[in-house]
Symmetry: D2
Subunit: 258 residues, 4 copies
């Protein structure tokens, strides 16, 4: 049974800040956003979590294994190094979607994302050490079969880009609607999903669905672990197995229909 | 008449590198990608260009005002600081889409993105100083009307995220198909498009199109300039004008139907 | 009884790399060095260690609480993100100087710093969890009394800079010769020392010595802890106590002559 | 005739900020300082200037070729990305020392470095385009002969570190007292000096002086150019010439006693 712990990370009052007193240079905003993300990746990743950039002003992290103090330290480190602050809302759930919903509601209960007085909120709960299990997190790593040969080198870059983005959105919507899973684009031709208790069959169905609606041919490796880093590394190795075995779904830890 | 200069930036042989000899930690890959992007934003932005992360392994830049030597220096700076190299392909065109197509073809002519021997390519042409004009670049900055009130604070984060992503993809596809323009998500509820010679009417039509197909209510500020930074800052001010005037399209430099 | 664990961090074959095939731009080298240092500060600091930049190509860290696996992960993260690799040599000792000597000798036994085949070495030993004590690390934080009033705002910047640097070198030499301690400049008017079992008296003598030989008036806060972060934060609070009490040495955990 | 343009860069009210409301974690301060420095290196270096970290809260840059607008853009970029602001004071002079003195006095005239109301000052003058010459900047790049063999691999790291630091301080003091030059440690076994109109003889004397007082054997390459980057790259090639020719001073552009 998976037991994901999800943290919603929101830059406080970011929209207004970007245009106060007059619009700030896009170059500086892009640098700020991508470095803030990179720092959160390091701060959370080195404690075995995963962070997805999502909208950049709202990021989503899988934080199994990071407690409230760990979150407070991350928040303080950002406050000490950036001109903006972040609010963090933690929640656990039976599915990633449920956990994110709870985290979102909790944060909104403390005030609007654009309320200038809502700064550096830290709310929510986390898995205590004794509640944690070796199968709390399920991570699926998808990529496009022969993306370079079929897209990058063949189509002009923008067509290939839009086409693959659409297939990813189809995948994200399918996984969320059917399985309450959360999937995010992570660069290149890669999507990483935080699954609930999905079976191998269900991953096969997801991959088939995307091929039907958008014609893009995906493969996926799935891993399970105590943390996102552990499950994610399993998923990467499983994806390599897809490559060598010419299969579309590999998951050493899931059995068919389990 | 716009005369965009577009540079395609490709990390050389990146896919294979990420799994050689075994898959590298996602935490390190995400950090590498977002910092490489941030550095390109600084290197190009401080010469008044814009860079879009696109797929992160393939990035797109508007580089009017940066010549071949400028590109070579950027390429060298990345080589000196990263474990990967980048190839750069420049092109100019009547539309951004045309320029990107030429740039893409030029780069592919030098070898595949996953050819281990194709490293640090620099090809293409750029606008000479005497060819440059004050209206070479058209930048449109879109955002969602009351995104915080309608989406961030109301829906659970993932629903709002997928819905806005879909509206953006609709916008990107429309602008590309109809106007050969290039549009990219830049974080928050923002899309920045590099337009061709689009009129105010055409922007209004684009915004209406998105509302029809996805129900998301956008506004857009458009600017024109010699460089992306100049046009982009105009666009930001025009977007602020939308906010104060409660309008959906503002563009001080475009006349209706021009 | 302090029991410091010191890690020597050496960029492999760095000198030759900076001039191969021809000298690289100083701008890129400075960026590389300071970012590599910043990343090590984060990687080690978020596990409660301290890193000193020292010569930048040879850095010194206090790593109590970080085991061999922790070191391996840090090393891998650098390898995944930089064009250079680092070798790490850990050692423990009765004094910081002893630990650094052992670490240095261990690393040199594996080959020269400029041996192109010596890459990514990880050697040495660390304190096992059961050996660790709450007083393993002693950190002293020095600064100059009224540096801004006396130096920054009064003398032209370079004179004040050289004068304070000389006083710091006097302090570093004294602490090393007499107490086998390691002291490093950390920016501004601050020196941080990793002490052995020094008493409050011995710190007072050190401060007096510097005033005699260089005329610079220092104060110092000293802390003791299980890790560098813990001892270092104590030291910072003690330094604040010096400021409010107008004293030159504060150390809540040391008794006179202990 | 050299005509250096020097910019003093000061973090505003930094000391008080580091302990408000209570002392901030050293890990965050070190990260902030070294990244701020790295960003200034990029912002200034990509316009062909050099920046020295000096004390980190007070940095010194050689900014020939960067005008007031260029400085304003750098200042704004830092303000948009950091929790602290910087003040910049520019000056030109017959010698680097004179320019830095003028810049320092100008900044101090606007208020103390620890005056909370003095924020984001930009004062001073710069070389207009028509005043600039191909020999405005003289850069000397020093290193230690066989530092690795003699120091890094032979002595325990800290002894070698203190010994080389002392020799550098002797060099810095000598160059400043006798020639009003500014010299800074830049990592490894390297010192970079901004010289005035020094002759080859005078560099030889400086190297001899250091050997006499501290026993450390230096070599130096000297370059002259319109900007720091140009002169600095010449200096690096000259230093390589020292290595191949087994000489202690090389400077293709200086004649003996000129």
């Amino acid at each position: 049974m998976t037991h994901p712990q999800i943290t919603l990370i929101q830059i406080d009052n970011y929209g207004p800040w970007t245009v106060t007193p007059t619009p700030r240079r896009e170059t500086d905003l892009q640098t700020l956003q991508s470095r803030l993300y990179a720092d959160l990746v390091q701060l959370i990743g080195n404690q075995d979590g995963y962070v997805f950039f999502a909208r950049f002003d709202n990021m989503v992290a899988v934080t199994n294994g990071i407690d409230r103090d760990g979150h407070a330290k991350i928040q303080e480190s950002i406050r000490n190094r950036y001109p903006v602050t972040v609010s963090l809302s933690m929640a656990t759930g039976k599915t990633p979607g449920e956990a994110l919903s709870i985290a979102t509601n909790r944060l909104q209960d403390t005030g609007s994302a654009q309320d200038a007085t809502r700064q550096g909120v830290l709310v929510g709960d986390y898995l205590e050490a004794e509640e944690r299990r070796g199968d709390d997190v399920q991570i699926a790593h998808f990529d496009v079969n022969d993306a370079t040969g079929k897209y990058t080198d063949q189509l002009a870059a923008f067509d290939s880009f839009v086409r693959i983005e659409q297939s990813y959105l189809d995948l994200m919507a399918h996984l969320h609607e059917v399985h309450d899973a959360l999937a995010f684009f992570v660069g290149g031709d890669n999507i990483i999903a935080v699954g609930g208790n999905m079976t191998r069959e269900e991953y096969r169905t997801a991959v088939d669905h995307v091929e039907e609606v958008s014609g893009v041919d995906l493969k996926v490796g799935v891993g399970v672990g105590e943390t996102a880093a552990e499950a994610g590394m399993e998923a990467k190795h499983a994806l390599e197995a897809c490559r060598s075995n010419q299969t579309r779904v590999e998951s050493p830890q899931l059995i068919d229909g389990d």
